[in-house]
């Protein structure tokens, strides 16, 4: 019996038995449709080529026999395409294992495929706060980082993209300072070219910092309104009068670029949705992040969740485009037994990173130039956690603005210092590169 995870290995096995014809008709696209049924797409010229056609028919027959419910009848299993290059347009094509010039195109019911990695933004640093599991203090850490950066004189733009569980703005802003609209309003209005009507009124300034500025763009305004109805349209692509299609993440990028141009911040902090989610995919892979903070607590659920993502990046052959932007954050390092906990966290992280992200270094060898690998104990390595200490005063905090207002800077440093230092280094490195 063939189930989803056997599809591609079986197709690859069939292709290897017919490798001569696969090479001849390449590129070959393995099109896995919304129902996970598979067809091949090849150039139209092969439709009339008897030899190629016979071999493709044999492959179609083998797929029919081996893929079971995931196959099409042989007569429908091959699509001939006049413009073969167009097949890739608007889709992500990943290599099929080690087969050259054979690509898998996965048709998903959602746009977030976690594999289309946008280049790092050429503007100011964009730092994404992501966690595979929720409830690890991600938003609190982000508020503390925003406060600290602003205290050092930076202009900080904070975006609440945890659209399905919004709350950053209510924790960063007292009610009387919250703006009328939020990101979800803009995404809804933009569909009817009315985004400018809300743009001015979706930005608030926080009173937390007295030296720099914190601009907050919340998920929704002070009155959420018909939030569920607006959110249900956030993922809509937009089609222009000339037929040009803009995906929802491209719309989001356009909003982010507009806000960056308008507010001229020194750094942008983005609070992402947790988990393997459509919005999280946009935040981590589509917004040109400079740095993606992976919040983690030591535990099997954390490591298996991140492993799913890292393996996906390897399978889709994009791991090199994303891995150097990642940094693990130890989210809630306990007061008691903190050193032991931190050590276990680092060990778990290293196991994961070395197996899935780092280049292999043979035993006894030293990582040389061009090899991206780190020892377990190496400070500054992406797996080496930036730690946040658990502190009762910040746990279960409902409104950070009441906590940070008038807070002792030393207290923030004690709890969030490692994270803040890391973020500051990133911002200053980017600044230095721009100078």
């Amino acid at each position: 019996m063939t189930t989803f995870d056997n599809i591609l290995p079986k197709v690859a096995e069939i292709f290897r038995l017919h490798i001569a014809v696969i090479k001849r008709v390449a590129p070959v696209y393995v099109n896995r449709d919304l129902n996970s049924r598979v067809r091949l797409i090849v150039a139209e010229q092969w439709e009339q080529d008897l030899q190629a056609r016979t071999a493709l028919d044999a492959i179609a027959q083998a797929m029919f026999e081996q893929l079971g419910a995931h196959a099409f009848p042989p007569s429908q299993a091959v699509l001939f395409e006049a413009n073969i290059e167009s097949v890739k347009h608007g889709s992500f094509a990943a290599p099929l294992l080690d087969l050259e010039h054979v690509w898998v195109i996965d048709r998903l019911a959602i746009e977030g495929n976690w594999a289309t990695i946008s280049p790092i933004s050429t503007g100011v640093p964009r730092i994404v706060f992501f966690s595979i599991k929720g409830g690890v203090g991600r938003s609190t850490a982000m508020a503390a980082a925003a406060w600290s950066l602003a205290q050092s004189g930076k202009r900080v733009l904070v975006l609440d993209l945890d659209l399905e569980s919004p709350g950053l703005s209510s924790s960063l802003l007292p009610k009387d300072r919250r703006p009328t609209y939020g990101i979800t309003d803009w995404l809804a209005e933009d569909l009817v070219n009315n985004g400018d009507a809300v743009l001015e009124y979706m930005i608030a300034t926080s009173t937390l910092s007295h030296d720099g500025d914190i601009y907050v763009v919340p998920a929704h305004g002070v009155n959420p309104g018909e939030y569920v109805s607006k959110l249900g349209r956030a993922w809509m692509p937009k089609v222009a009068a000339d037929g040009r299609r803009e995906s929802w993440t491209q719309r989001l990028q356009r909003l982010l670029n507009t806000l960056e141009e308008k507010l001229k911040p020194d750094v942008i902090l983005i609070d992402s949705r947790a988990g393997i989610d459509e919005i999280a995919s946009a935040c981590v892979t589509d917004l040109g992040a400079t740095l993606v903070l992976l919040f983690a607590i030591d535990g099997e659920q954390t490591w298996s969740g991140y492993r799913i993502l890292f393996q996906h990046w390897r399978t889709t052959d994009v791991v090199r485009e994303i891995r150097e932007r990642l940094q693990l954050v130890g989210a809630v390092v306990p007061e008691l037994g903190g050193a032991e906990y931190f050590s276990a966290l680092r060990e778990g992280a290293w196991t994961l990173f070395s197996e899935e992200l780092y280049d292999e270094v043979a035993p006894g060898q030293v990582a040389s130039d061009g090899v991206w690998s780190f020892d377990e104990s190496e400070e500054g390595a992406p797996h080496s956690p930036w730690s946040i200490r658990w502190h009762r005063s910040f746990a279960a905090l409902r409104a950070i603005h009441t906590r940070l207002d008038g807070i002792d800077a030393q207290e923030v440093t004690n709890i969030f210092g490692d994270l803040i230092a890391g973020i500051t280094r990133t911002v200053e490195t980017e600044d230095a590169q721009d100078d």
Binding site: L34, L79, I105, R107, A109, P237, A241, G243
Partner: protein, 136 residues
Amino acid sequence: MTSDFLNAHHRHLRDADYLFSALHLANADHLYGMAAECGLKRLMVAFGMTLESDGTPKGKDKAHVDKVWTRYETYRSGHVQGVQYGLPPSNPFDDWKAEQRYAQEQSFDHARVEPHRTAAHAVHALMKNAERAGLV
């Protein structure tokens, strides 16, 4: 004969392009409208439109592209996969009528036909996506 919107879409578009390149603009224009209509109707079926037993549309859906363009939006909006199959909001076939097949040939110039040609090919692109996605 039973209806086959997919096949009809392909043959109308192929012939429209053939006539367009031969500068037979009047009949090309007519067929671009027909190609778009058939393509949209096939997608409407994918998005839930029911048909008569002979495969023809029912009631208000029994229309040409100048009306079907808007009807399509109704079906698309009611289907979860429709999100990925949007068309430009303004109807490029507003000035197209099936009755124009009786019109004088000189009434058709490039400026009139080109938007219809673009729109028919936009429908064609959606058809291809739908085919690869397994919707049609």
